[in-house]
C-alpha cells in the first residue's frame, strides 16, 4: 500500500517518538499533565536522565522503525542539571540535522526544543505544532518503503524459483526454496549447527563478485605465496575472475555441496541477486567478503539517488554522453528469433545480507590477506566462530594505531580539514590535526595501512559489534567534542565537513539504519 492509500483507507496520524530529559522536559510534561493542558496524543515519550544521553542512533532507529517525527527535549542552554549535557546534545543534533537533510528527511520531522521544568505550556505547543507540521508532510513510513524496495528482490527470487522448479520439476530434484528476504533486517544465520567440512575430500570454495571493483579479488591474490599453501587445502570450484567455471557448473552441484562461498560486492542487479541465491543454495557457508558485501561499500553511495536519476545521468545528462534519441538499454530485447536479456538494474544498492542469509563477514576495502587467511583457517577448523561473526578484532582501530599516543585527552574541534587541505604531520593523530579520521569508530585488524600511508581511516572495516550505525556513532563521538556551544558556532564548525554522508557513511550507507536517502525532499545533487 502506498502512502496515499494508507491515508485514504485509515485515518493516518503522525507518530512521534520524543526523548525527554528527566530534570527539565519530562518534568515539564508532567506539569502539563498536572495542569490538564490537553494536547495532541501523537507523541510517545522515552525518558532519559539528560539530553546528552541521546545517541543519534536512537533517532535514526526510530525513523527506521516507522516514526514520522522525532522530538528531543532538554534543559535550556546554561541550565543543564549535569552542567553541559545539553550542549553536547545540541552539537550532535545540529550535525544530525544536517545529515538528515542530506538524507532527504524534511527538517520538520526532527526537532530539538529547550523546555524547562516550569514550561508545561511549551510542551503542549511544541507537540501540537510538530504534529500539525508533520500532518502536512504526510507519513515517512520507512518500514513500508523498505518493504516496497525489498519486494523487488522477493519477486525476482520467486520468479527464479518458479523457473527452476519448472526446469527441474521433471527430474524430481527437490529444490528447497530459499528463505524469504527479511524486510531491511540483517540476515545472519543463527542456527546452532556448525558447518563441518567433508572428511577426506578437500572442501569446495567458491568466489564470486557482485557490484565491486575487483579489489577484493586482488586481495585474494595478495596472499602471494600463501595461495599455494591454501590451494593445497581447498578446492576452488568457481571463481569467474580467475578460472573458467560457468554458472551451469555451479547449478550442477548439490545443495550445500560447496563448503563456503566468498561473495564480494554489493548487490545491484538482478544477475547478482540470482547468483547470490544460487550460491546460497549450494553452499553451507556464505561469507560476505569485503566492505561492499558487508555494508554496501562505495557503490552504496548510489543510494543517495534514484535509479531514474542515475540512468538519466548516465545515458543522457553526463557531459560526455552523446545520446540525442535518449536511448536506454532494455532488460530484454528480441533479435530475430532470439531473446536477449541483460540484468535488470535494481532501485537500491543492497548489502549481501539484505538479499540472502549470511554466515560470516570479512570486512575491509579490501580485506587484508592476513585476516583472510586467519578467517579461512578458523572456518576450516573444528571450532569455528559463532555464526554471524565479523572475522576481525572487535575493538576500534585506535587500539592498534601507531599514532594513538599523540592524541590529546581534551581534543576540542573548531573546524575540520580534508586530507588534501593541509600538510598532514605523519607522526600525529589525524583528529588532533583537525582531519576527520573514522578510526575511533571502525574495527581494527587492518594493520593501520591507511594511517601508515599518512591518510586517515575512512571506516572501511565497519563498526565494532556494539554499534548499530557506524556513521551516527562516529558523528556523535566527533561532534560531542566541538568547541562551540552556540548554534552559529556549531554550524560553522560542522559546515567544514562538506559531505557528511560521504564522510561518515562512505562504506556503510546501505547497511546503515536508514539504508538510503528517502527522496522525501529533493535536494540538489
Amino acid at each position: 500500500m502506498n502512502d496515499k492509500e494508507i491515508l485514504e483507507e485509515k485515518k493516518w496520524e503522525p507518530r512521534i517518538v520524543a526523548f525527554f530529559c528527566t530534570w527539565c522536559t519530562y518534568t515539564a510534561a508532567d506539569l502539563a499533565g498536572v495542569s490538564r493542558l490537553r494536547h495532541a496524543p501523537n507523541a510517545r515519550i522515552i525518558r532519559v536522565m539528560c539530553s546528552g544521553r541521546i545517541d543519534p542512533q536512537f533517532v535514526l532507529d526510530a525513523f527506521a522503525r516507522g516514526a514520522d517525527g522525532v522530538l528531543i527535549g532538554g534543559c535550556h542552554p546554561g541550565d543543564c542539571h549535569y552542567m553541559e549535557g545539553n550542549t553536547k546534545a545540541l552539537r550532535r543534533v545540529r550535525a544530525l540535522q544536517r545529515l538528515l537533510r542530506d538524507m532527504g528527511v524534511h527538517e520538520d520531522r526532527f526537532r530539538l526544543e529547550w523546555i524547562s521544568a516550569s514550561e508545561g505550556e511549551k510542551v503542549k505547543t511544541v507537540i501540537n505544532d510538530m504534529v500539525e507540521r508533520i500532518r502536512v508532510l504526510g507519513p515517512l513510513s520507512l518500514p513500508a518503503h523498505c518493504a516496497q524496495w525489498d519486494a523487488e528482490v522477493g519477486s525476482l527470487e520467486r520468479a527464479i524459483a518458479a523457473e527452476q522448479k519448472q526446469a527441474d520439476g521433471d527430474a524430481g530434484v527437490q529444490i528447497p526454496s530459499s528463505p524469504p528476504a527479511a524486510v531491511g533486517a540483517d540476515q545472519t544465520q543463527e542456527s546452532s549447527s556448525l558447518p563441518q567440512h567433508h572428511s577426506g575430500a578437500k572442501p569446495k570454495i567458491a568466489l564470486y563478485w557482485c557490484a565491486s571493483c575487483g579489489g577484493c579479488e586482488e586481495s585474494v591474490v595478495d596472499l602471494a605465496e600463501g595461495i599455494i599453501g591454501l590451494l593445497a587445502t581447498i578446492d576452488i570450484v568457481f571463481w569467474p575472475v580467475a578460472m573458467d567455471f560457468k554458472k551451469s557448473d555451479v547449478e550442477k552441484l548439490g545443495d550445500g555441496e560447496i563448503f563456503a562461498s566468498l561473495i564480494n560486492g554489493a548487490v545491484r542487479t538482478s544477475e547478482q541477486e540470482e547468483m547470490a541465491h544460487l550460491l546460497r543454495r549450494k553452499s553451507r557457508i556464505v561469507l560476505a567478503y569485503g566492505s561492499c558485501a558487508h555494508l554496501g561499500g562505495i557503490p552504496g553511495l548510489a543510494n543517495q539517488f534514484n535509479r531514474d536519476d542515475i540512468l538519466r545521468y548516465v545515458y543522457e545528462g553526463s557531459p560526455s554522453t552523446v545520446n540525442e534519441e535518449k536511448t536506454r538499454p532494455l532488460v530484454t530485447t528480441q533479435r530475430d528469433t532470439h531473446t536477449l536479456t541483460i540484468p535488470a538494474f535494481h532501485s537500491q544498492v543492497r548489502t549481501l545480507n539484505q538479499v540472502i542469509p549470511v554466515d560470516y563477514y570479512l570486512p575491509g576495502c579490501p580485506p587484508v590477506p592476513r585476516l583472510l587467511a586467519a578467517g579461512l583457517a578458523q572456518l576450516l577448523s573444528d571450532n569455528p566462530p559463532p555464526r554471524g561473526s565479523v572475522l576481525a578484532p572487535d575493538t576500534a582501530l585506535c587500539d592498534t594505531c601507531p599514532r594513538k599516543d599523540t592524541k590529546p585527552a581534551d581534543l576540542q574541534f573548531t573546524s575540520f580539514s580534508r586530507p588534501h587541505q593541509i600538510n598532514i604531520d605523519p607522526a600525529m593523530c589525524f583528529l588532533a590535526q583537525g582531519v576527520v579520521c573514522m578510526g575511533p569508530g571502525t574495527r581494527g585488524g587492518c594493520e593501520a595501512q591507511c594511517i601508515n600511508g599518512n591518510m586517515p581511516c575512512s571506516g572501511c572495516f565497519g563498526p565494532p559489534s556494539n554499534v548499530k550505525d557506524q556513521g551516527a556513532k562516529i558523528l556523535a563521538a566527533i561532534f560531542s567534542s566541538l568547541k562551540a556551544k552556540d548554534e552559529k558556532g556549531i554550524d560553522e564548525a560542522a559546515g567544514t565537513v562538506p559531505d557528511p554522508i560521504g564522510t561518515f557513511y562512505r562504506y556503510g550507507l546501505p547497511g546503515s539504519l536508514l539504508r538510503r536517502k528517502t527522496m522525501e525532499t529533493h535536494t540538489k545533487g
Binding site: 494536547h39 510517545r44 536522565m49 585527552a409 575511533p440
Partner: protein
C-alpha cells in the same frame, strides 16, 4: 528467588492502575491489561484501582512469590512520583528492585487527552514499550552516599536566620553566609509588622542576637558563596569574605571611628535608608546591626582613593581594629546540605514613569516610607517630605508592578497588607488624609481581614481603581503645588482626580537581580517568573530537584514573614532528615566501561564535566570513577565503540523501548481499535 539471568525464562507481571477516575475515566484499562497479557513473556496482567496503595503493592508482592515473576511493569502515574515507591514494593516482594519499569499513563496520557480511543491506544503503545524494555533490565545494587553532618544556609534574612537557628538548636554545625555587612535582610528595614503592629526590630533583634551567640553557628557576614561543587551529602563550597578593613574580632561597635571620620557629614546615599539619608565611607548599616562591626566602603573612602588621608579613624580606635591592609579571604567548607534563603528584590518603580517616581520628589516607594516612619530612620520617624513639608494628604497606590502583563503578572501577596499598615502608620504620624487605591484587598492571613476592618473605622479612604497616572498638572487652583492622582473609582463609576502631597507606591516583590546566577551556581532551577523552583508546589514546597539543596522564604515566591519562617523551619526539617539518617540512596544509573570493547581512543575523556573518566595508562583504556559519576549518560552516547554503558539506561533497553513504541503500526491514534 528469581534473580534471573539468561538461563531463567522471563516472567513479566503487568499492572495497570485505575487511579480512581484519573486514569480509568479516560483509558480503557481492562483493554490495556488484556492487550498486555498477550505480549511476549507476560505471565500475568492485572488492573487495580490504586496500585500505589498497600493492597496494590501487596498484589505485586504476592504475584512475585506465587507466580515466580522476575520482571514487573506498572502503568500508572509519573515515575518521578512513584518509581521509588514501586521499587521498594518489588524489593519487599523478594525481587531486585531494578527489575521494574514504570509507564506514565496519567500525567502523560489520561490527563492530557480527552479522546478515550486515542488515549487507550497510546497507553497500549507505552505499555508494550515498557514490557519490551524491562526484558533487558539487569539486577543492580543500590548506591548509597553518606551525608556530611554540617549545613550551609545562604542568606540571613528572617528565613535564613530561623533555618540556621533550628538546625543549630538540633545540634548541627551551621555556616550562615550573608552578603550584606549585617544580617536581618529586608525585615530589619521595616518599622512595624502587620497585623500585630509589632516593631520589626523588636522581634527580629533577639533572633539576630541568638545567631551571633550560638555556638553552633558560624556567621560569615559581608561574604558571598563563589563556587559550589559536589553532590548531596558531600558539597564543597568556596566562600569569599569581602574585606571590611576592620578586624571583626577586635571591633566592639562603639562607632567612635564613624564620629571621628574626616568627613564631617555623610556624602554617600545610605543604602539601608534607601538613599533618603547620607552616610560616611566608614559606617554601620543600622545601630543594632549584627555583627556589631563597622565597615569601610573602599569606593568612597579617601584613603583608598588617594592614599593621603589623616586616618583619624585609626587613631581614635583604642582597640586597633581598623586595618586598611585587610585582604579578601577565601574559605572552603564541606557540608552535606544547603538551604537557600536569599530573599527578594523590590520592583523598581522607575519602570512605570507615569507614576512619577524619580521625577516628582514626593513620590516614594513603600520601602522608603518604612524608613521614614521608623524611629531610627533618616528623619527619626517624623514624616518630612523631600521638599521639607509635612504631608496633609497621602495617596497609597497598590499593585505597583504586580498583576500586570507589562511588568510582573503575579500578585506579590504582601503589598495589600503592608499598604494597610502604612496607611495606619501614616495616619498615626501625621493626621493626614490617607487614600488607598487598590484593585482587590488581599487580606488572607490570620487576623488580616480584621486588621483591614479596623482601618475602615480609622477614616482611611479606600478607592477601588487602578491608578492611571500621577501628574503635577493642576486642572484647577486647588491642585496647584500638589501631585494629582488620576484614577477611575470603579465603585461609583467616575474618573477622579485626587490631589495629594505625598504618593506612596506599593512596589511588588520580584526575584533578586542575580537569582539566575545563584541558581546556576547551586544547580537548581527557576520557574518562569524567576523565583527558585520547588520540587512540587503542594507537597514539596521547600525541596528542589537537586537532592540536598532546599529553599525557604521569598526566594521561592512572594510571601510574608509568618510563611517565610514556616518554610525556613520546613527546610531545616528536611535537611535534618538527611543529616540524621546519615546516608542517602541514589539511583544506580552510573556509566561503566565494558573494557573488552574499549579501544583507548580517548574520545570520552574530555566529555565528562565531573572528571569522572580518566585513562588507565597501563591498560590503555578508559576508567570511570563511579563515585564521581552523576549518571547523565553523555559519555555513553559519545563513545564511538559503544563500549561505555549506563546502568538503567542501556542501549539495548532504549532500543527495545523504541521498538516497542513503534512495533504495532496501527496507522492511527484515534478511532481505530486494535
Amino acid at each position: 528467588m528469581p534473580d534471573t539471568d539468561s538461563s531463567h525464562p522471563l516472567r513479566i507481571g503487568f499492572y495497570i492502575c485505575h487511579c480512581g477516575h484519573n486514569i480509568a475515566g479516560t483509558i480503557d484499562v481492562a483493554s490495556v491489561a488484556h492487550y498486555a497479557a498477550a505480549l511476549p513473556h507476560v505471565s500475568v496482567a492485572r488492573e487495580y484501582k490504586y496500585m500505589c496503595s498497600d493492597p496494590g503493592q501487596e498484589l505485586i508482592q504476592k504475584d512475585i512469590r506465587d507466580l515466580e515473576l522476575n520482571r514487573i511493569v506498572v502503568a500508572s502515574c509519573s515515575p518521578l512520583l512513584h518509581e521509588h515507591t514501586f521499587r521498594q514494593a518489588v524489593e519487599k516482594g523478594g525481587l531486585n528492585p531494578f527489575f521494574f519499569q514504570m509507564v506514565n499513563i496519567r500525567e502523560d496520557v489520561s490527563w492530557v487527552n480527552d479522546n478515550p480511543a486515542a488515549a487507550t491506544v497510546k497507553a497500549k503503545d507505552l505499555a508494550r514499550a515498557a514490557i519490551f524494555r524491562v526484558s533487558h533490565h539487569r539486577a543492580l545494587d543500590k548506591k548509597h552516599v553518606s551525608i556530611h553532618p554540617d549545613a550551609l544556609v545562604v542568606g540571613a534574612g528572617i528565613a535564613g536566620i530561623h533555618a540556621a537557628l533550628t538546625l543549630a538548636n538540633a545540634g548541627k554545625k551551621v555556616t550562615l553566609v550573608e552578603r550584606e555587612p549585617t544580617i536581618g535582610g529586608h525585615m530589619a528595614m521595616f518599622d512595624k509588622t502587620f497585623p500585630t503592629l509589632d516593631c520589626a526590630a523588636c522581634i527580629l533583634t533577639p533572633k539576630m542576637s541568638a545567631v551571633r551567640n550560638h555556638p553552633n553557628i558560624r556567621l560569615l557576614s559581608y561574604s558571598e558563596v563563589k563556587v559550589v561543587g559536589g553532590y548531596v551529602g558531600n558539597y564543597k563550597v568556596t566562600i569569599r569574605r569581602k574585606p571590611r578593613y576592620i578586624k571583626e574580632e577586635l571591633c566592639v561597635g562603639c562607632m567612635e571611628c564613624i564620629e571621628a571620620c574626616v568627613y564631617k557629614e555623610g556624602k554617600t546615599p545610605d543604602e539601608f535608608n534607601q538613599g533618603l539619608s547620607k552616610r560616611k565611607p566608614i559606617y554601620i548599616p543600622f545601630p543594632q546591626a549584627t555583627p556589631q562591626v563597622v565597615v569601610i566602603d573602599p569606593a568612597t573612602c579617601i584613603e583608598f582613593k588617594s592614599g593621603h588621608c589623616k586616618k583619624t579613624c585609626v587613631s581614635v580606635c583604642d582597640r586597633g581594629a581598623v586595618d586598611f591592609s585587610q585582604k579578601e579571604e577565601t574559605i572552603d567548607i564541606d557540608v552535606g546540605t544547603i538551604i537557600l534563603a536569599t530573599g527578594y528584590a523590590t520592583f523598581d518603580p522607575k519602570r512605570l514613569p507615569y507614576y512619577g517616581y524619580g521625577k516628582y520628589p514626593n513620590v516614594y516607594s513603600s520601602l522608603e516610607v518604612e524608613r521614614l516612619v521608623n524611629a531610627s530612620g533618616p528623619t527619626a520617624g517624623e514624616l518630612i517630605l523631600r521638599d521639607g513639608r509635612h504631608p496633609k494628604t497621602v495617596g497609597i497606590i497598590h499593585c505597583v508592578g504586580s498583576r500586570d502583563r507589562n511588568t510582573n503578572r503575579w500578585c506579590s501577596r504582601t503589598c495589600c497588607m503592608y499598604s494597610l499598615k502604612l496607611a495606619h502608620l501614616l495616619k498615626e504620624h501625621t493626621e493626614a488624609e490617607v487614600y488607598n487605591f487598590y484593585i482587590d484587598i488581599r487580606a488572607a492571613g490570620k487576623s488580616y481581614e480584621e486588621f483591614y476592618d479596623k482601618l475602615l473605622e480609622e477614616n482611611i479612604h479606600f478607592v477601588r481603581g487602578r491608578v492611571a497616572e500621577v501628574t503635577d498638572w493642576a486642572a484647577r487652583p486647588s491642585e496647584e503645588g500638589k501631585l494629582v492622582i488620576r484614577v477611575e473609582d470603579t465603585l461609583i463609576g467616575v474618573v477622579r482626580r485626587v490631589p495629594v502631597d505625598m504618593v506612596v507606591l506599593a512596589v511588588g516583590m520580584e526575584p533578586s537581580a542575580d537569582a539566575q546566577d545563584v541558581r546556576r551556581m547551586f544547580n537548581i532551577s527557576c520557574s518562569t517568573e524567576g523565583f527558585f523552583l520547588e520540587r512540587h508546589p503542594k507537597l514539596a514546597p521547600v525541596d528542589t530537584f537537586t537532592d540536598g539543596i532546599f529553599i525557604a522564604g521569598a526566594c521561592q515566591g512572594p510571601k510574608d514573614i509568618p510563611d517565610s519562617v514556616a518554610q525556613a523551619g520546613a527546610a531545616a526539617a528536611q535537611a535534618l532528615t538527611l543529616i540524621d539518617t546519615g546516608e542517602v540512596e541514589l539511583e544506580p544509573n552510573t556509566a561503566y566501561i565494558a573494557e573488552e570493547f574499549c579501544s583507548g581512543c580517548k574520545s570520552c575523556l574530555g566529555i565528562c564535566p565531573y572528571t569522572a573518566i580518566t585513562r588507565d595508562e597501563i591498560k590503555g583504556k578508559a576508567f570511570i570513577n563511579e563515585a564521581l559519576c552523576k549518571g547523565c549518560g553523555t559519555c555513553v552516547a559519545a563513545c564511538p565503540s559503544g563500549a561505555i554503558r549506563q546502568h538503567l539506561f542501556e542501549d539495548d533497553q532504549i532500543f527495545s523501548e523504541i521498538d516497542g513504541i513503534l512495533a504495532d503500526d496501527n496507522l492511527t491514534t484515534a478511532g481505530v481499535e486494535r
